[in-house]
């Protein structure tokens, strides 16, 4: 026990002496978690909560374009600026010069074309139900088209979101127009107002419910998503510190020197893993605690801890063990410190991308989703998400923990094999 205690002390002192390594291990991840969460939260708010600036160029003189613009304004989802003097071919330049991100262009005959379309549809419909004499002759009408302009730097998902919202309001205008046309053809003068009211009051709502697995109200938000994800990334980034430490000790001959001593190398390596595992757990505690108690003061949702504290502790330990085991493999296999740092860092970025740290792994192509099962970060993230987002229990955690256990054992097997090859064991 004395040997192990001294070995742990030595690792601890070496870790403490590396100020840059400590900063990389504790301060940089903290910075990363704060910045990424703020960015993601802002993006979420931008897409869902705040009004989006929209330049409106209306060259239509009819009522329907005005009606649509009114609806867009009333929705409070958009902050509209109208300027109908801009020529169509100058819209792109205006967007660039006046720093608008989005614009919508109403062509000159927009209302007329929309009305023609409604007329055709209502006529056809009434003829089909036998309420109109004869079927209107099949005719081709020009389909009204709005043009949506966007800054090329704007993310595709953001653009699609805006287009979907505009489309939803066009459908409302079209619906009202269709009813108006039908009533006119049926010579009804009062009904449209009642119908409009009925339509407005009987819209089907969609209620958003997070499918959590326990009664505790876990609210999925940018904090619950990002803090666990980027903490895992930080834990695995200790590959640069631990990997380097192993390479350094092998190259300076201290591993070989230990072979001439009555000490098992397992004890020496065990002490190293223990100290770095403690460091990984401290990373989690530090980041999670700050996310719980400081996020609110900077306008972010505070981190909600899982209700099952024991399961949380087990997941943290398994994630930490996976991180230090991976770092040990890299340190053992790498021949130089440059290899350990370079390969270690790049491999973590790749494994993070595959593991769903940046974007959820379910959006990856099918073959990459299969490959993602090989990323330890995938299993680590699954463990945290099961607790932080889904409110899952042991039954759901077990496959995740089994996946991590397989990875850890595989790392130890490779480490043993490589050290045996290097004649350290």
């Amino acid at each position: 026990m004395y040997k192990f205690r001294v070995a742990v002390k030595k690792e601890f002192l070496i870790l403490l002496s590396d100020k840059t390594g400590l900063a990389l291990m504790f301060l940089m991840p903290l910075l990363l978690v704060y910045i990424i969460t703020i960015i993601q939260d802002s993006a979420f708010k931008m897409a869902n909560q705040s009004s989006m600036a929209l330049l409106v160029i209306n060259q239509d003189e009819g009522e329907q374009s005005q009606h649509l613009i009114r609806l867009l304004e009333q929705s409070q989802l958009f902050e509209l600026t109208q300027d109908s003097t801009i020529a169509k071919d100058a819209i792109s330049t205006t967007l660039y010069e006046q720093e608008y991100l989005t614009a919508v262009y109403f062509p000159p005959n927009f209302s007329e074309q929309l009305k023609q379309k409604a007329n055709l549809l209502s006529g056809t419909l009434l003829a089909e139900v036998g309420m109109n004499e004869g079927s209107p002759a099949l005719q081709t009408i020009a389909t009204p088209t709005l043009e949506y302009y966007h800054d090329p730097v704007l993310q595709e998902s953001y653009s699609i979101s805006i287009m979907n919202m505009i489309d939803a309001y066009i459908k409302t205008v079209e619906g009202e127009l269709l009813i108006n046309e039908m009533c006119q053809q049926l010579e009804l003068t009062e009904a449209p107002a009642k119908l409009r009211e009925a339509m407005a009051n009987n819209q089907v709502g969609v209620k958003k419910i997070a499918a959590t697995l326990n009664s505790k109200s876990l609210q999925p938000n940018s904090t619950q998503h990002n803090v666990p994800a980027w903490t895992i990334f930080a834990m695995f980034f200790m590959v640069t510190s631990l990997g380097n430490s192993i390479v350094k000790e092998r190259l300076n001959g201290s591993f070989v020197r230990l072979k001439t001593m009555p000490t098992s190398f397992v004890l020496v390596l065990g002490a190293k893993l223990f100290v770095y595992l403690v460091a990984a757990v401290l990373q989690v505690l530090l980041i999670f605690t700050l996310a719980r108690f400081t996020f609110e003061s900077i306008g972010l949702p505070p981190l909600t801890f899982p209700s099952d504290g024991f399961a949380f502790a087990v997941v943290v330990l398994m994630n930490g063990l996976a991180a230090v085991s991976y770092a040990t493999v890299v340190g053992t296999v790498a021949r130089t410190r440059e290899q350990a740092s370079g390969f270690g860092a790049v491999s973590i970025v790749i494994l993070a991308a595959l593991g769903g740290i940046w974007i959820p792994s379910f959006v990856l192509p099918e073959f990459l989703q299969l490959i993602s099962y090989g990323s330890p970060l995938y299993w680590c993230l699954e463990g945290f998400y099961t607790l932080f987002l889904r409110g899952g229990d042991w039954q759901i955690l077990l496959p995740t923990l089994a996946g991590l256990a397989v990875f850890i054992v595989a790392c130890w097997a490779i480490t043993y094999w490589q050290l045996k090859r290097d004649k350290v064991f």
């Binding site: 004395y2 040997k3 001294v6 070995a7 002390k9 030595k10 002192l13 070496i14 002496s17 590396d18 000790e249 300076n252 001959g253 201290s254 070989v256 020197r257 230990l258 072979k259 001439t260 001593m261 009555p262 000490t263 020496v268 004649k423």
Partner: protein
């Protein structure tokens, strides 16, 4: 006083998996207790391989090594090894290094504390025992390397180029300390490129070239028998002047 064999090496052969020729080819050697034994030879002769096998770092391909005074095949408690590299932790101070390696040798905290002070003082490191080694000169680092190898008071001490790259003062201090250690009964086996230093320090030498022992015996006897004025002349006589890079 009878001379007792300390290490007996029989038909020792070593072939590395990537090599086409044997690095050591049937080495037979006896090192007696209390010897200051120099293993000399040009670059690539097999000196470090031989010393690594004697310390248990490498396994021989064929042959055997017997430690006559010991029951174990490799008496790790009784051997000390001072490698050519600075095989310690430069982020720590000498005391912390000695505490670590002392514990790995199986010493208790009390024994380590007692010995650390005296060893560091003798080696001229008493004043810097709490300073980080990465601020030390090459000579000071060599002395720390040596201190680690003797913290457990080994009866056999292996040194691989213990004075390479150090100033004259450190070299003198190291050799003086090794001579003192030898007078207490420690058998010293060392390799070096410094032939004048080896001639002064060793009472026995073995000259190795291309994995074979070319000559071995008492230093004075070898010089006399081969009419060489010093080890350098003897060395050139047996290994030639061609480069061995």
């Amino acid at each position: 006083m009878s001379i007792l064999p300390c290490i007996e090496i029989q038909s020792l052969t070593k072939r590395y998996s990537t090599a086409t020729v044997d690095t050591l080819q049937g080495i037979d050697l006896t090192i007696n207790q209390g010897d200051k034994f120099g293993i000399l030879g040009p670059n690539g002769a097999g000196k470090t391989t031989l010393i690594s096998i004697l310390c248990g770092i490498l396994e021989p391909s064929e042959g055997a090594v017997h430690y006559s005074q010991h029951q174990e095949a490799l008496p790790t408690n009784s051997i000390g090894f001072v490698p050519q590299e600075y095989s310690f932790f430069e982020e720590l101070n000498p005391m912390q290094n000695l505490e670590y390696f002392g514990a790995m040798y199986g010493l208790t905290a009390k024994v380590i504390k007692e010995r650390t002070q005296s060893i560091l003082t003798v080696l001229g490191l008493g004043d810097v025992q709490t300073k980080k080694i990465n601020t030390f000169s090459g000579g000071m680092k060599r002395r720390v390397n040596l201190a680690i190898g003797i913290i457990h008071q080994p009866s056999i001490l292996f040194l691989d180029e213990p004075t390479v790259g150090v100033d004259v003062q450190s070299k003198v201090a190291i050799l003086k300390f090794l001579n003192q250690l030898n007078t207490t009964g420690t058998t010293i086996i060392y390799t070096s490129h410094h032939l004048d230093e080896a001639q002064e320090f060793c009472n026995q030498i073995a000259l190795i070239d291309q994995g074979k022992i070319i000559i071995k015996g008492a230093t004075e006897d070898l010089l006399t028998n081969h009419s060489a004025k010093d080890l350098k002349e003897l060395f050139i006589q047996f290994t030639g002047e061609a480069y061995r890079d």
